[in-house]
């Protein structure tokens, strides 16, 4: 990893956007819509949301859109022609948090183990992350319990930390980051000798990850535990869909007579029909089993199979759960159970 430190003046962000756009890149940045904040294409830096702890949806849609064509097809008499997607547009995600930046590696671990998902991989290759570290956190954040931190550099190409003057301390971390700096070297000045630490939010470690992962395989059979935790769970997909690390998907065809498209759409293991057969047989018939799958997958199976944890501690699932299922609280309970 390259680490080069620079100073990016606050009013230079606008100029940087202009340069990135001139280079043919699309910029996704947090934009407010009512009380919610989404990563959207912005024309100017002034459109960005000013003050946010976390965005409503994660930036995962940039590399794994909620709906995307896997390919298109055209019927020609009895023949079928298949047309693959063209290369995705180069994209810069600006203003994501370190936890979100860390999530790309998790998604990638699924899309590139064994069979290589070229579509995801080229999206990822075309995406650069200019992350802004966290000066504030809330009670739902738990990045430090799952290997991250408010100033963590994992997964970012450039990490910006806002320092006292209001300017950004920029850490240029990868070749992609360097390439962006090369587009506008004049915007990156000599870095001051300031330590970013004092500008970062304090997020205490909230549970012992090692204990949790050790306990989970055994906890699997503790039906009462899962039942108690999930009685109020409504079985929607909110937690999975706001999550930067959830990967489950569905494949669906849509067609108009002669032509059509095979789509990939986000799906959630929390839905009751996720595992259901046509016959009606369902291997996970009740919500407690589906809640267990969510927790086991993220904190046990994932690190067994993919060598990553399936969670970066962004807290979105708990902020957005309509039934106030607080993941952190549930994890603590499992880690601390005797």
């Amino acid at each position: 990893m390259i680490i080069e430190k620079k100073l990016l003046k606050q009013d230079s962000v606008e100029k940087l956007f202009a340069k990135l756009k001139a280079d043919g890149r699309r910029i996704l940045a947090p934009k407010a819509q009512g009380d919610e904040i989404f990563f959207e294409q912005v024309a100017s830096a002034s459109e960005m949301a000013k003050d946010y702890i976390q965005t409503t949806l994660s930036p995962k849609g940039a590399v794994f859109p909620r709906v995307e064509a896997l390919f298109r097809y055209q019927m020609e008499g009895k023949d079928v022609k298949i047309e693959n997607n063209s290369e995705p547009q180069p994209t810069v995600i600006f203003g994501l948090r370190p936890c979100d930046a860390a999530s790309f590696a998790i998604l990638n671990s699924v899309f590139s183990w064994d069979y290589q998902d070229s579509q995801f991989k080229s999206r990822l290759a075309q995406t650069a992350a200019i992350t802004v570290s966290c000066s504030r956190a809330d009670e739902y954040c738990f990045c430090t319990s799952v290997g991250g931190s408010p100033g963590d550099t994992k997964g970012s190409d450039i990490l910006l930390t806002r320092i006292g003057s209001g300017d950004y301390l920029a850490e240029i971390l990868t070749e992609k980051g360097k390439a962006m700096v090369t587009l506008a070297p004049e915007l990156f000045a000599e870095a001051p000798s300031e330590d970013k630490e004092k500008y970062l939010a304090k997020v205490p470690v909230k549970f012992d990850l090692k204990k949790l992962t050790e306990k989970l395989p055994e906890a699997f059979n503790n039906n009462e535990l899962w039942m108690e935790q999930s009685l109020r769970c409504l079985g929607c997909g909110a937690c999975a869909f706001v999550c930067p690390a959830c990967v489950c998907f569905d494949i669906q065809d849509e067609s108009k007579r002669e032509s059509g498209v095979r789509l990939r759409c986000w799906d959630s293991c929390g839905f009751s029909l996720f595992t259901a057969h046509t016959s009606g047989h369902n291997p996970r018939p009740v919500q407690s089993q589906r809640w267990r799958q969510r927790v086991m997958h993220k904190f046990s199976y994932f690190n067994d199979r993919q060598k990553y944890l399936g969670c970066v501690g962004c807290g979105r699932c708990s902020r957005k759960c309509p039934a106030d299922m607080n993941l952190l609280e549930h994890l603590k309970a499992i880690a601390e159970a005797r």
Partner: protein
């Protein structure tokens, strides 16, 4: 609140019910649904103006049903949901005890549907001035503006079905959204898929929605779905004089035909 806890303790101790579905402390300043099964846990129960979730949604959840007879802490929309569920043959009389909470916070035990009906008869279910004003604002838009407004809202929808999951009247084991022969509603969260989903769900809830607002509260991306349902509820009221959730036995306005129906909506 003390009154509620005392009643809960009593009901559990006597064995009259096996579980109290109520509100308890949640994350930070939030409250959440709790399922109190032991008298000594009754002190968990909270009842204040943060307690908005329509707990009737749990009355049809298999795991909750398996706990045994329930008493549910019920504000007005929850009481209406209970009657509406009864009208749709999802609940039978005596299956559930409602701990009715008046807008002032007073608790009344209502163990029969009839008692709930009588209790509700004492309140008006006209929309509040504020709600009316919001609907009027939408009404005053040109069709193009209104289309634009909803298109922008629906564009955010990720199809998490939080709206459906939180709705006490969306209890269908297999929702139309999941029927694939034919695929009535595209499963994808693109423009057509989202439009179809929301229009169809709104239609399914016309004369069934009890105006609890949980769909909008549940929605992670902040879509004011309740406005669609309120609008349809008002239309049904105008056309048929019917309000949902007022009686344990009532006909569903949209599939009953009566001689005296005004049919000027078919033009």
């Amino acid at each position: 609140m003390e009154e509620l806890r005392k009643k809960a303790r009593e009901l559990l101790t006597s064995g009259a019910v096996k579980v109290i579905i109520g509100y308890g402390p949640g994350s930070g300043k939030r409250v959440r649904a709790v399922f109190v099964r032991k008298p000594e846990q009754a002190d968990l129960l909270i009842c204040d103006d943060r307690c908005l979730q329509n707990l009737a949604v749990y009355l049809t959840k298999p795991e909750v049903k398996a706990l045994g007879k329930a008493a549910v802490v019920a504000r007005l929309p929850t009481l209406r949901a209970i009657l509406q569920l009864a009208a749709e043959n999802q609940l039978t009389d005596g299956q559930v005890v409602a701990l009715g909470i008046s807008p002032e916070g007073k608790m009344t035990e209502l163990s029969q549907f009839k008692a709930i009906e009588e209790f509700l008869a004492g309140f008006s279910f006209e929309l509040s001035a504020e709600e009316k004003a919001t609907l009027e604002k939408l009404d005053q838009m040109t069709p193009e503006q209104r289309w634009q407004f909803w298109q922008e809202q629906f564009a955010k929808c990720v199809r998490c079905y939080g709206c459906r999951a939180s709705c006490p009247l969306c209890y269908c084991e297999k929702c139309l959204a999941e029927c694939n022969q034919p695929q009535w509603i595209p499963a994808a969260s693109h423009q057509i898929g989202n439009l179809d989903w929301h229009i169809i769900r709104a239609m399914h809830l016309a004369n069934r929605c009890v105006n609890c607002g949980d769909c909008s509260r549940a929605c992670p991306v902040g879509i004011p779905l309740h406005l669609l349902n309120q609008k349809l509820a008002e239309e049904v009221f105008k056309q048929f004089g019917a309000r949902s959730g007022m009686k344990a036995a009532q006909e569903y306005a949209l599939c009953n035909w009566k001689l005296e129906d005004r049919e000027n909506f078919i033009k």
